[in-house]
Symmetry: C2
C-alpha cells in the first residue's frame, strides 16, 4: 500500500464524467475547504477519463483534465484515489484491477460489476492491500452498505427486504395512487426522467437483482452473484393486482429479498404485496428504502433517494473521505468478509405466501376441488374470498407460508382444473408479522 | 497506541453489567465464532466491573470475572478494549479517561457523559491516540452515528429531525391512537417497561436533549453540549393538542431538532406537530427514527429500536468489531471533527411555526385585534379557523415560519388582550415542505 502522504494534496482521478461524475467534480470543488478539514489534507482532481473529448460537459469541468487514456490515469505514480463512475463490466473491471494493482485506493458505484464479478474485485483488493469502497452502488445516497458491513458486524442479519429501484417504485406508486396501467405509468416515469428510454434493466428487475446480490453478500458474509438471484420484473403487474392488494390491505412493491435460512441463503427480486402498515409500504415515488431484520438489533429501516447525480455523488464523497483518511493514516478499511460461504438456495426452496386470484365456474363443488389442490401440496390456506364475476365467480385465496415450489405446483395444477377458467393473477405476499 | 496483536485473543473488559452489559456478554459468547471470523482474532471477556458482587446476575455471567475494582480492570496491561455501560457522569468519565491514557480502545453507550463533557472525552482520544466509539449512545440499535460521521462526511447536513426517545414516542402514540391523557399513557408505558418509575429524564426531554447535542456535534462538525440545547418535555401535552394536530393533518411528536443556519447552529427538543405525510409521522410505539436533510443526499431516514438490552448490545458489538479490527491493524478510527466551531444560537433565533389555540370572546372585532398582534411582530398567518366554543369562540391560528422570539412575544401579548380569555394551547409545527 502507498505510504501516508503527510499533508501533500491527495490526487484523485475520475473514470467517467456523466451525471454522477460531473456532480462529484462539482462537490469536490464547492466543498474543498470542508473536505480538506475533514480529511486532514486537500484533495485535487488530477484527471478525468472520458470516451469522447469533444462531448459537451457540465459547467465547471476543466477540459484540460480530460483524457481518453484511462489506463494511463489509473497507473500514474502520483494518483492516490480512483473513482469509477463509468458503469458496466468492461472497461471498468480492467481499470479497477489495474488501479488496485498499482496501489491506488478505489471507489466505485458499479453495481453490475460488483454483482457479476465481486469475488475478483474483492480478491484484488485483498491481494494488493487496496481500499475498495462502493456505498453508491446500492440505494444511491442512503448510507446502507457501511452500516451493514460495519455497524451490524456484531449482529446476525436474518433478512433484508429492500425497495432498491426507484423507477419501478415510482411506476407501482403511480399505479396505486392514480389507477394507471403499467404502460401509462412507465411513460409518465420516462417523461419525468425516472425511467430510461430502454427501461429493461429497471422494469425487468436486473438492476434490483444486482443490488440484491451485493446486499446478500454483505448481510450474510458470503459470496453471491447476480446469477444467483431469482428475478421477476413488474411488466406483468396489472391494475387488478393493485386492486387485489388493496382489498387485502396491501400495496404492491418490487422487493429485493435476501434471507438467511437453515440451509443457506435465498436471494430474489419480484413484485410482492406487503401490508400497508409495514414501514416499506409508505415508501413513495422514486424513493428507496431497505428494511433489515437482525437478531439483536431487531427491525431497522434505511430510507432515502436511491438515484440521481447529487445523491449518488454524496455517497461517493463519503467514501472518498474514508479512503483519503485511511491513505493518510497508512491503513485501509475492512475487507468484505465472505468467510461463511453459504449455499444459495434455488427459488423453489424459498418460503413465501401466495395471493391467487382465480376465475372459476359458479357451481357446487368448485371450492372443494380447488381446496383439495392446495392440500395436495401441503399448502395451508389463510384466507378465502369468493364473489360473483360475470357468469362465473372470482375466488381469491391467500396462503400461509410454504415452499415456493409447492405453491408453484399448486398453481400449475389449478390451471389444469376444468372448474378453473383462468388463473387471473398470482402474486407473493411478504412482510407479514408471522413470517 | 498498542501495537497489532497478531492472532492473540483480544481482551475485553466491561464496566457495568446491567441490562445492556449482560446482553453484550451473552452475544460475545453466543457469536464468538462469527465475531472471530469477522475480526480476524478471537475476543474474550477478561473482567466485568460491578458495584456489588452479591447482586443476582443474568444466567451465563461467569462470577469469577466480576470485580468491584474498575480502575484495576481498565489499567490491566493485557486489556485491549474497554466497554463502558455504567451510564452517568462519574465514575464513567474517570474510568474512560484512565482507559484511554493506558492505551485502551474504548466503546461507550453513555449519552449523558458525551453530551456534558464530550470535548474532554474526545480530547483524550486524540491526545492518547485511542479509539472512541459510541454508536449505542444515540437511538440504540439504529446505525446512525457512523453514517453521520462517515457516510455523510462528504456532504453538508442542513437539518436533523429525530424521534430519539422511545418512552415519549410511546406515550404520544398512545395519546394519538387511544385518546388517553398524558398520565394514563405514562402509566401504561410504565406497566410495559417503556418508562421508568421516575420518568423525568424521558418525559422532560433530558434524554432527548443529550442525544440532540451529540447529533448536532456530529452533523455540523462543531462542539455542542447538553446545556446548549433548548429543552421542553411532553408533560404539558394534552388530548386537545393531539386533537388540534389531527384537525391540522398532523401528529404530535417529541422532536430533537438540529439545524445549521447562516448564523450558527440551533439545537432544541420540544413537542411539535408534524404533517401525517412526513416519514417521521409513521414512527409508532417506542420506535426511534432520525430524519436527515443534506445538501446532496437529500432526505434520508434511519429507523429502528431506540432502546432495549439486545438492540443496544448490537450497536456495542458493531463498535467492538471496528475497534478490534483497528487494533489488530495498528490503526484507529476517525476522530469526531469539530473544526467548524460554530456558535449555538439561542432559542429565540430558531425559525419555526406556531399553532396557537385561543379561547376568545365571541364579539365583533376580536379577529382584527388578534391579527394585529401577529402583525406587530411581523409574524405571517398561514391559516385561521374560528368556531363557537361554549359562550365564546375558539380561534386557531397557524403561522408561517418566524423567529421563535417573535412568536413568543406574540403569544405573550395575546395573553394580555382583554378579548382573549385564555391561550388554550401553543405548539410548534415542524417538518413542513416549505421550511
Amino acid at each position: 500500500m502507498a505510504k501516508a502522504a503527510g499533508s501533500r494534496p491527495l490526487s484523485v482521478v475520475l473514470l467517467g464524467c456523466g451525471v454522477v461524475g460531473s456532480q462529484v467534480v462539482r462537490l469536490l470543488r464547492e466543498q474543498s475547504a470542508d473536505l480538506a478539514a475533514r480529511i486532514g489534507a486537500p484533495v485535487r482532481v488530477s484527471g478525468i477519463a472520458v470516451r469522447r473529448l469533444s462531448r459537451p460537459r457540465a459547467a465547471g469541468i476543466d477540459r484540460a483534465l480530460l483524457t481518453t487514456d484511462a489506463v494511463e490515469l489509473v497507473s500514474r505514480p502520483d494518483t492516490d484515489i480512483v473513482i469509477e463512475v463509468i458503469g458496466g463490466i468492461e472497461p471498468a473491471r480492467s481499470l479497477l484491477l489495474a488501479a488496485m494493482k498499482a496501489g491506488k485506493s478505489v471507489i466505485t458505484a458499479n453495481k453490475a460489476l460488483l454483482a457479476e464479478d465481486g469475488a475478483a474485485i474483492h480478491g484484488a483488493a485483498r491481494e494488493y492491500g487496496a481500499d475498495l469502497y462502493y456505498e453508491a452502488a446500492v440505494a444511491g445516497a442512503i448510507p446502507l452498505l457501511r452500516p451493514l458491513r460495519e455497524s451490524l458486524a456484531g449482529d446476525e442479519v436474518h433478512r433484508v427486504l429492500g425497495i432498491v429501484n426507484g423507477t419501478t417504485n415510482y411506476i407501482l406508486d403511480r399505479m396505486d395512487t392514480s389507477g394507471a396501467g403499467f404502460a401509462d405509468a412507465l411513460e409518465e416515469a420516462q417523461g419525468l426522467g425516472y425511467a430510461e428510454a430502454d427501461p429493461t434493466a429497471d422494469v425487468e428487475g436486473f438492476d434490483a437483482a444486482a443490488k440484491a446480490a451485493i446486499l446478500a453478500g454483505l448481510a450474510f458474509h458470503t459470496p453471491v452473484t447476480a446469477a444467483d438471484v431469482h428475478r421477476e420484473g413488474i411488466t406483468g403487474v396489472r391494475p387488478t393486482d393493485i386492486e387485489s392488494a388493496r382489498t387485502l390491505g396491501c400495496v404492491v412493491k418490487l422487493l429485493a429479498i435476501c434471507e438467511r435460512t437453515a440451509g443457506g441463503v435465498s436471494v430474489r427480486v419480484h413484485p410482492a404485496m406487503i401490508p400497508r402498515g409495514h414501514p416499506l409500504a409508505g415508501v413513495r415515488e422514486a424513493y428507496n428504502a431497505v428494511f433489515v431484520e437482525a437478531e439483536s438489533a431487531g427491525r431497522l429501516m434505511f430510507y432515502g433517494a436511491g438515484a440521481g447525480g447529487a445523491p449518488t455523488a454524496s455517497a461517493v464523497l463519503g467514501d472518498l473521505v474514508a479512503v483519503a483518511r485511511n491513505r493518510l493514516a497508512g491503513t485501509r478499511g475492512p475487507d468484505a468478509s465472505t468467510y461463511a460461504d453459504l449455499p444459495v438456495l434455488p427459488m423453489g426452496e424459498a418460503l413465501t405466501a401466495y395471493h391467487v386470484d382465480l376465475d372459476v365456474a359458479d357451481r357446487p363443488g368448485v371450492l372443494a376441488t380447488v381446496a383439495e389442490v392446495f392440500a395436495r401440496y401441503d399448502v395451508s390456506i389463510k384466507a378465502v374470498r369468493q364473489e360473483g364475476r360475470g357468469e362465473g365467480a372470482q375466488l381469491v385465496i391467500v396462503t400461509h407460508q410454504a415452499r415456493d415450489a409447492a405453491l408453484a405446483a399448486t398453481v400449475s395444477d389449478l390451471q389444469a382444473l376444468p372448474a378453473v377458467r383462468s388463473v387471473a393473477s398470482v402474486m407473493r405476499v411478504e412482510g407479514e408479522d408471522n413470517q
